[in-house]
């Protein structure tokens, strides 16, 4: 997966990183057992403080998405491997309906956010 951060966005940098890992796991681009980059390497590549990356990894650990072990880095847990097939199918259905109704994406997103609250 590609890690991206946008320093001009309002969201804190550690939250941007954590959100991408969550998304990659749900989308199936990152698999259980896979090792995330070493925090030091990722921090150097993105020109971040290493604690920013560690903060993101710790949040993911608290959610049970990764295991943090000394010397082994952050490994995606088996627990992270929920079956997202139905969810993806449902999202496809939402996209289809929104397009059929010519709803702007912002409106669909607002509806989803409202429903998830």
């Amino acid at each position: 997966m590609i890690f991206r951060i946008d320093p001009t966005a309002g969201e804190p940098l550690f939250a941007q990183l954590a959100a991408q890992v969550r998304l990659a796991v749900a989308a199936g681009t990152v698999h259980p057992g896979e090792r995330l980059p070493a925090a030091r390497d990722l921090a150097a590549s993105l020109d971040l403080n290493v604690h920013t990356v560690l903060r993101a990894y710790q949040d993911l650990r608290d959610e049970g998405l990764v295991d943090l072990r000394r010397g082994r880095g952050a490994v995606v847990t088996a627990q992270a491997a929920h079956d997202y097939t139905d969810l993806r199918a449902a999202i496809d259905a939402v996209v289809r309906e929104s397009r059929a109704l010519s709803l702007p994406p912002e409106t669909t997103l607002a509806l989803l956010k409202e429903a998830l609250r």
């Binding site: 590609i2 890690f3 991206r4 951060i5 946008d6 320093p7 090792r35 980059p37 590549s45 993105l46």
Partner: protein, 330 residues
């Protein structure tokens, strides 16, 4: 995606003079000098001389001085010419030139030093059967060969900086980036059959050392273990400074700066067929491969006809990010 690469990248290799001096003239001179020294000793040497020793260190093979010198000299000369041709035709990347001249100079030094070392212990003997203590001579020759090879490889010139003049290949994948976005892709490439082969070789040579009791041979498993550790686990990074492939030991490593990237894509790699093995290797058409297993890999085309291939998962994402960052750097 399957692609074949053959003679498309035929930019002539640079630094052919240094390749010829270090990879042809130097090794041949070492071999010739060894032969000259060996023949200058002919009055002090028994006839025939010992050419082979059994595991206990007793001489068990004999030949005339000329015959004992011809075998290593011809072997060395043939290998030297072959490697020089590799450096001449497939030396677009510094790593191929350095490997060619290093292996050539190192092997010639080892062969020459082995010849001289094994003859040295026979000087003044009436009967070559008395010759012994050849283990130390071979250990010294191994060390001399390693030092000469590494030195020749280091002296060979590196690639000059060569920023691309044209745009990045539009046919290759992209990962669109926001104007203020920073992005990185980091993966590990490790294991594969090469690891098993190297592990078996380490265990095998260790057993050999124990069984034969030839203490100096401990060098072999130690060197093999280090090579295995340095060649079979790599961190591959794509970020604002380009592509970096770094061994788990930190060395060796290689960097492709963004302004030298002409294109990048995912390819299917067969290390044995395309590179003749695993690890950091020279492949067909002068491609440089850092290959640990069969399957998908990241192929980066670089200025000067250089091509680097790394076997790594998720290579499509790495290629897309590399081309997009390279676009931005143009």
């Amino acid at each position: 995606m399957t692609t074949t690469t053959g003679t498309r990248h035929r930019t002539p290799a640079p630094h052919r003079l240094s390749t010829t001096l270090l990879g042809l003239a130097l090794p041949l001179a070492v071999l010739a000098a060894s032969a000259a020294v060996a023949f200058s000793w002919r009055d002090d040497l028994p006839d025939p001389v010992a050419t082979h020793w059994d595991a206990a260190g007793t001489a068990d093979g004999f030949a005339s001085l000329a015959a004992s010198a011809v075998v290593p000299l011809v072997t060395g000369a043939v290998l030297t010419v072959g490697l020089w041709l590799v450096g001449w035709f497939f030396g677009q990347s510094a790593s191929n030139r350095r490997t060619a001249v290093g292996v050539s100079a190192g092997t010639a030094t080892f062969l020459g030093a082995t010849l001289l070392g094994t003859l040295w212990v026979q000087r003044g003997l009436d009967d070559a059967a008395q010759a012994s203590g050849v283990g130390a001579a071979i250990a010294v020759a191994l060390g001399a060969g390693l030092v000469a090879g590494v030195l020749a490889g280091l002296v060979a010139p590196r690639d000059a900086r060569r920023p691309a003049e044209g745009p990045v290949s539009p046919a290759d994948p992209r990962a669109p980036l926001g104007a203020d976005e920073r992005a990185a892709w980091i993966r590990t490439a490790r294991g594969g059959p090469g690891l098993a082969v190297a592990g078996a070789a380490v265990v095998g040579t260790l057993v050999l050392v124990v069984v034969t009791g030839l203490w100096w041979m401990i060098v072999l498993p130690v060197v093999l273990g280090l090579v295995m550790a340095s060649m079979m686990s790599w961190t591959v990074t794509v970020d604002a400074s380009g592509l970096e492939v770094r061994s788990v030991l930190g060395v060796p490593r290689t960097v492709v700066p963004l302004d030298e990237v002409e294109g990048a894509r995912e390819v299917t790699v067969d290390p044995f067929r395309e590179f003749g093995g695993w690890g950091w290797r020279a492949g067909r058409g002068g491609r440089v491969g850092i290959v640990v297993r069969k399957g998908p890999g990241l192929e980066v085309r670089r200025t000067g006809g250089r091509v680097l291939v790394v076997t790594v998962d998720d290579a499509a994402a790495g290629a897309a990010l590399l081309t997009s960052l390279a676009d931005r750097a143009r």
